[in-house]
């Protein structure tokens, strides 16, 4: 058997493959994206980018009901979208092993919140496994399929960003070929009619209690006997930090945090003088221990917000740390749109317009920051259009600012379409801009239904965004090229003057997807008057130098947007 450096995401993919998983579905989302990207490189597993996380989980559940081992993977907020089928799946159970991977994002590296999805286990009544490194990510995922089948229940594997995107050595195993059980009609199990579901709920409580009894003796949880106080209870990557800070302490390291191994925890608490719970974000383990009557130190000392690290644990628990303050006054380097980013062109066209803009989720969310300041809200996937609709209903004619929704192409397919239908059917005066960069940009260029390719690199029928919008009942649909900045601005102004609903599709491939080979642009300092019009494109290649604009030849990709907007024709 060989050792390989794998990220937590890659390790989950390996574990699923080794477990004989045959069907896997996901929607891209940081930090979970690489799970399916990696799994798609193995043979004998069908992998797809589903249109959203609800779809992905239903696809996996369908495969499970059909007797095959299946997995759905998503970022933490994706499980909110997929919560509906998750709860039904718990009642129905898992004929073929069914594993749901959620990758949480403590610290909000690339998300709108830092919700703690361990609570989904408690609420949906399903087991939750929390690996602490890549080796466990592989092993736990593999074992999750066995647990799922043995106890007829879906199993959640919960990662966090730090685990998903850390690489560590993993001992690889071989694939166990699982015979498909085939489909069998079982309406009392698979139809959640109230009469059947009442019975299934009672059964679910029995199933989760059987898992609890099993978990009391499971090797997913480990006691490490140390020589010093306190006794530490932890899960996930927090265990690695805690070992670093308390090398000699006793540990109860939990691998399955729900259903909770009550007896094991009580025995551990009896064996130590003081119990400290070290866990990221919410006090999930702490609540379980408290309900058993165990007094603990936990979130009274440790932070409930943000990502943990060894330094924060030291500071919270009074352990000495290296004294090293960051340098003051280092200019921030916030993420920004790339050179040649087509979103910049459509943002420029929106500048100085009297608009209220509902934003959405993608690279273009960065357009809320200067110099574009192009959006007012970011709520969740698809909420640009529905926000604008609600806002329009509330403001009516009392506010002259036009209600605009700004959404990306992949997000439009994910959950924009239902909102668009709603603006038509319930009649609001909303202008929807679909900024179509022909890929899922933020997460690293995954194909989507508009691209004509699948995750497994097969050709597919590309779905036309314009046709979808027309089929939704929007009569006014126009397409613009955001690199033609002035023309785009003219069209935007024209559409803003009309009655909605209307759609503007702003289409240009992501500048990182199709590298331009156009010549880099230069500023003629004789002609430049330093008006900063080009600066307002927010292009990282352009900066002011001695009151004239200057273009960095190593950053410029030659898109020509700056030349298009320059009022003095100083850029060529």
């Amino acid at each position: 058997m060989s050792m390989k450096l794998l990220s937590g995401d890659e390790a989950v993919a390996r574990g699923a493959w080794e477990a004989g998983c045959r069907i896997a579905a996901a929607y891209p989302g940081t930090p979970s994206t690489e799970i399916l990207e990696s799994l798609a490189t193995y043979h004998d597993v069908y992998c797809e980018w589903s249109t959203n996380e609800k779809v992905a989980l239903e696809v996996a559940l369908g495969a499970s009901i059909a007797g095959t081992r299946a997995m759905a993977a998503m970022k933490h907020v994706g499980l909110n979208v997929a919560a509906d089928p998750l709860f039904s799946a718990a009642y129905i159970g898992a004929r073929g092993g069914l594993v749901v991977v959620t990758a949480d994002d403590p610290g909000l590296h690339s998300s709108q919140n830092e919700q703690d999805n361990r609570f989904y286990g408690l609420m949906a009544r399903v087991p939750v496994l929390c690996p602490s490194d890549s080796q466990e990510a592989k092993d736990f995922t593999r074992q999750a399929f066995d647990i799922s089948e043995e106890f007829d229940i879906p199993v959640i594997v919960r990662l966090t960003t730090r685990l998903a995107h850390s690489n560590a050595a993993v001992m690889l195993g071989e694939r166990t070929a699982m015979p498909d059980k085939g489909y069998e009609k079982q309406i009392s199990k698979n139809m959640t009619l109230p009469a059947f579901a009442r019975v299934r709920h009672v059964d679910l409580e029995k199933r989760i209690e059987r898992v609890r009894a099993w978990n009391e003796k499971s090797d997913l949880n480990r006691v490490i006997s140390g020589t010093s106080s306190p006794g530490i209870v932890c899960d996930g990557v927090a265990y690695q930090y805690a070992r670093e800070v308390f090398p000699d302490a006793s540990f109860l390291k939990l691998g399955m945090v729900h259903p909770f191994p009550n007896e094991l925890a009580l025995r551990f608490a009896d064996s130590v003088s003081q119990v400290v719970v070290i866990e990221e974000v919410d006090p999930f383990i702490e609540l379980q221990l408290s309900s058993l009557g165990i007094r603990v130190t936990g979130k009274d000392r440790l932070p409930r917000t943000g990502e943990l690290d060894p330094g924060r644990i030291r500071a919270a628990l009074g352990k000495p740390a290296a004294d090293s303050e960051p340098e003051p006054d280092v200019p921030n380097r916030p993420p920004a749109l790339c050179a040649g980013c087509p979103h910049a062109g459509i943002f420029y066209a929106l500048q100085k317009q009297k608009v209220i803009v509902g934003g959405d989720i993608g690279c273009y969310t960065l357009g809320a920051l200067p110099p574009h300041s192009a959006m007012d809200t970011c709520i969740d996937m698809g909420a640009s259009i529905t926000f604008a609709h609600g806002c329009d209903k509330a403001l009516g004619a009392n506010d002259p600012r036009r209600r605009v929704a700004f959404i990306g192409d992949s997000t439009f397919f994910h959950s924009g379409i239902t909102g668009l239908i709603n603006t038509v059917y319930n009649q609001s005066n909303v202008i929807t801009i679909v900024s179509d960069n022909c890929t899922t940009g933020m997460t690293g260029h995954q194909p989507h239904p508009g691209t004509g390719r699948t995750l497994m690199d097969q050709p597919a029928r590309a779905i036309s965004i314009e046709s979808v919008c027309r089929a939704c009942g929007v009569e006014d649909v126009v397409v613009v090229d955001p690199y033609q900045v002035r023309e785009t601005r003219r069209v935007v102004r024209e559409v803003l003057a009309k009655q909605g609903p209307a759609v503007i599709v702003s289409r240009r491939p992501c500048a990182l997807l199709i590298r331009l080979h156009d010549p880099v642009r230069h500023v003629d300092p004789e002609k430049c008057v330093g008006c900063k019009t080009c600066i307002s494109l927010g292009c990282p290649a352009i900066a002011m130098s001695n009151d004239k604009s200057a273009i960095s030849e190593t950053v410029c990709v030659g898109c020509g947007m700056c030349a298009d907007v320059c009022p003095r024709k100083a850029i060529s």
Partner: protein, 193 residues
């Protein structure tokens, strides 16, 4: 060994750290490497934490404990210099990439002399390597990361030759020759310092 690598999204920090972590694993050590993808990569500040030893727990390096800080850009060197352990070494590219707030004129641009003074005050053992310029002379600024790797290779407590084979096996065949040259140039630049 704790190696913190920092730079700007798009500079190739991740490939650099993949190569170092791979060589450390081949040398029979336990390795952890941690970085963040997604929104942070869009021209933002990027770090990669690499730790290798007989046994490694935390994937993150604590402030004040890095043996080596490798910076692909000067402001980023200053941003993370507090991660260096007392006596730790800083190796940086004096390249400047101005952050958006500076380009927009919202924040004043710190001048080079001040940055040099502040770095000197925090890192007694330091070396600047003009890797970006060297890579440009070799014909591709994208090889900046491998030039820096060449400059750093002698300070990693890992077999230097293993990096040459890692470059051969990890990169696309068409890029191997250029990157081997970049690696040698980085080594030569470090030797002159």
């Amino acid at each position: 060994m704790n190696v913190l690598v920092c730079g700007v999204g798009g500079q190739g920090v991740l490939l650099f750290s993949d190569l170092v972590a791979g060589v450390a694993l081949e040398s029979g050590l336990d390795v952890k490497k941690s970085e963040v993808h997604g929104m942070a990569q869009r021209g933002g500040s990027v770090t990669s934490h690499i730790r290798y030893a007989p046994k490694v727990y935390s994937p993150l390096i604590e402030e004040g404990t890095a043996d080596l800080l490798v910076a692909f850009e000067k402001l980023e060197a200053l941003r993370y210099v507090h991660f260096l352990a007392p006596g730790g070494r800083l190796i940086y590219d004096p390249l400047r990439i101005e952050p958006l707030p500076v380009r927009l004129g919202l924040v004043e641009r710190p001048d080079d002399a001040t940055l040099d003074q502040r770095l000197a005050a925090r890192a007694a053992r330091r070396m600047d390597v003009p890797a970006f310029e060297i890579a440009r002379e070799l014909g591709s600024t994208r090889a900046q990361n491998v030039v820096i790797l060449g400059a750093v290779a002698g300070f990693l407590d890992l077999p230097v030759d293993a990096f040459r084979s890692a470059i051969r096996t990890s990169l696309k065949p068409g890029l191997v020759e250029l990157n081997l040259k970049a690696f040698e140039s980085g080594q030569a630049a470090a030797a002159c310092r």
